[in-house]
């Protein structure tokens, strides 16, 4: 159904129906063999490291240490030696990846949700209200994007000691909330400024308060931008090693990234175990990304691309 629709669109001379593309050949709908082969080569290069890791995660210690992963493909007879043992050891062994997975969720969920809440309120104020110092404050926030997060490690560590937050989940997610804020406000404000002003004005005329306009109108209309920031922040927090290492460290509260480095360091453990652990850490972000990528692109580009 979709296929016939697109071919028809491509065959008709009206370019408006087909998406606005730049093309190099006479027939814009078709890519030449050069285009195709360049893309295939690029995609293959991009996938090779991942495939190698995936295959290794199913191999035995001996095989992984003595032969390259591609030998499984070159000699298909060795296929039968593949095993699920690495995943069992990684998930149930002394480094408990299962527990780490729960910990990661406990860190990532608040660290994703709370900045969205804070930033959407702030972005609303920056876009739809007038107040003194608005532009200056906004530029101050945007300029905070360039400060690297390791600047704050020592001062905040000292602060946590006084308050007694060290080693807890909030110690990590509070840190991520603050450092995600600049980007969140930036993306959301860019997106909100593309929303039709007239709708918001008429809501105000009808006597809606700021709160009502925010919850009923602006927030639902900003879903693509909210989703795109959520994915960004989710990936960033889930994949973060350093902040977790500094504020929580190895132990019962460790997230998956810390657990993975622990796996790496354990005595007598081969590569195959870290690859299995690596895939456990990758599963959730990849699923989240694939499920939400439609929103991701829409929300991200609305602010950055004019038109």
């Amino acid at each position: 159904m979709t296929d016939t629709a697109t071919t028809q669109a491509a065959a008709t001379p009206t370019p408006k129906i087909r998406r606005a593309a730049t093309h190099f050949d006479a027939n814009p709908a078709k890519a030449g063999w050069i285009t195709k082969s360049v893309l295939i080569v690029l995609c293959a290069l991009w996938l090779i490291p991942l495939i190698g890791t995936l295959i290794t995660s199913f191999r035995t210690t001996d095989a992984a240490a003595n032969t390259g992963w591609w030998s499984v493909i070159v000699h298909p007879s060795t296929l039968s030696s593949l095993t699920l043992q690495n995943y069992k050891t990684a998930l149930g062994g002394t480094t408990d990846m299962g527990q780490a997975f729960v910990n990661s969720l406990a860190i990532t969920l608040p660290a994703t949700f709370i900045p969205i809440l804070f930033a959407s309120f702030a972005a609303y104020a920056f876009t739809f209200t007038e107040f003194r110092g608005r532009e200056f404050l906004f530029l101050a926030i945007v300029s905070m994007l360039v400060v690297p997060n390791y600047v704050a490690f020592i001062p905040i560590l000292k602060l946590y000691k006084i308050v007694g937050l060290s080693g807890t989940f909030p110690s990590v997610w509070l840190f991520h909330i603050a450092f995600g804020m600049s980007l969140a406000i930036y993306i959301l404000r860019n997106y909100m400024s593309t929303l039709p002003k007239t709708v918001i004005e008429s809501a105000k005329m009808d006597g809606a308060s700021h709160y009502q306009t925010f919850y009923r109108l602006v927030l639902p209309m900003s879903v693509p931008a909210l989703a795109s920031f959520a994915i960004f922040q989710f990936l960033w927090v889930w994949n973060d090693l350093l902040v977790a290492l500094v504020f929580i460290g190895p132990g019962s509260n460790q997230p998956v990234t810390v657990a993975l480095t622990e796996l790496k360091g354990q005595l007598g453990q081969g590569w195959e175990l870290t690859t299995a652990g690596g895939f456990v850490t990758m599963i959730l972000p990849v699923i989240v990304f694939l499920a939400l990528q439609r929103f991701f692109i829409r929300g991200l580009t609305a602010g950055a691309v004019k038109g």
């Binding site: 998406r19 709370i114 809440l117 702030a122 945007v142 019962s252 989240v288 004019k306």
Partner: protein, 326 residues
């Protein structure tokens, strides 16, 4: 296990609940105020929590860092410019600065060029093919840097001469009876730094591709048609019609990637740890703190970094303003 999971759940609920409550209280306060005050105060209340977070976690540490860069290693006594002088006098640190500069010069440009190439080429595929190609290129964005380091070990690994190579590059070399090359130990022509940059490109090209692809699709078809009628070749159209129209996005991507690259730390930390002349500012900062316990020098490094960032920041603000005006 279950008890742990429950405590985790409880912290999550409590944290999110507290955040929601905060706004409810702020709103409650503002509604108690007289009408004209409510309108004046409310925007500030809306941005207050965000600003509080930024002040405590970014502004306060940044200011403290500037002050401590003029103090000794435990931040007790004032030492003037000693930290800066020691840093610039050491050849190692100058090497670190040069490496960081290499990253800044190469990665953002390469990222934009590769992203644009994929975006333009994939645009000509069928919608299904385009989606598949883009997903593959974007996929590494979801991989953590620890994960990426694990993944790339299977490419860069080197075993002693004579034994079977399990790293892909050396295995390829051994087919031609060459090698093995210890890729990440070789600093001739900064080979190892370049190889580390490849890892970052692997992760970042997807990001630049997504933004640039949307910009390319946004170029109005009539401008392309007009150029075609005037007899421009497809290459001319790309260089003279498409590129100028997506300039804004190119700058946005370029600045974003540049800032990421300046802050780069993890890739170097988990692969070479800064050895073999691959050190960069971010990793050097961490070494000064965790190995040498020299907080003064570490702070000075951050200040050097922040000064280097000012031109980019200035450019970004100016670019942002012109976008606003347009």
């Amino acid at each position: 296990m279950l008890a742990k999971a429950l405590t985790a759940l409880l912290t999550v609920v409590a944290g999110i609940g507290a955040a929601l409550l905060l706004y409810w209280v702020l709103n409650w306060i503002s509604e108690r105020l007289p009408d004209n005050w409510e309108h004046r105060i409310k925007p500030y209340l809306f941005i207050l929590p965000a600003f509080l977070g930024i002040t405590v976690y970014i502004l306060y540490p940044a200011i403290l860092t500037v002050i401590n860069s003029f103090k000794d290693n435990f931040s007790r006594n004032w030492v003037g410019l000693t930290n800066y002088r020691t840093l610039f006098d050491s050849t190692y640190f100058r090497g670190t600065l040069f490496n960081t500069l290499l990253w800044i010069l190469i990665v953002p440009a390469a990222c934009v060029i590769m992203g644009l190439t994929v975006a333009v080429l994939a645009d000509r595929l069928s919608p299904r093919g385009e989606k598949a190609a883009k997903t593959v290129i974007f996929l590494p964005m979801a991989v953590s840097l620890v994960g990426a380091a694990t993944v790339w070990r299977f490419i860069y690994d080197s075993e002693p001469k004579g034994s079977t190579q399990i790293g892909l590059l050396n295995a390829l070399l051994s087919i031609f009876h060459k090698g093995p090359v210890a890729w990440l130990d070789t600093s001739t022509y900064h080979l190892n730094s370049l190889l580390l940059m490849v890892i970052l490109l692997w992760i970042q090209v997807g990001f630049s591709m997504v933004l640039l692809s949307a910009a390319v699709k946004g170029v109005p078809v009539d401008t392309l048609e007009a150029a075609r009628i005037d007899g421009a070749s497809e290459r001319q159209i790309f260089a003279l019609v498409v590129i100028p129209q997506i300039r804004g996005t190119i700058i946005t991507v370029f600045i974003t990637v540049t800032i990421t690259v300046m802050k780069i730390f993890d890739i170097v930390y988990v692969t070479t740890g800064g050895n073999f002349n691959t050190d960069v500012l971010g990793n050097q900062f961490w070494t000064q703190i965790s190995t040498f316990f020299n907080y003064g020098a570490a702070s000075a490094i951050v200040v050097i970094f922040m000064i280097a960032v000012i031109p980019i920041m200035w450019y970004q603000v100016r670019h942002f303003r012109s976008e606003e005006a347009a």
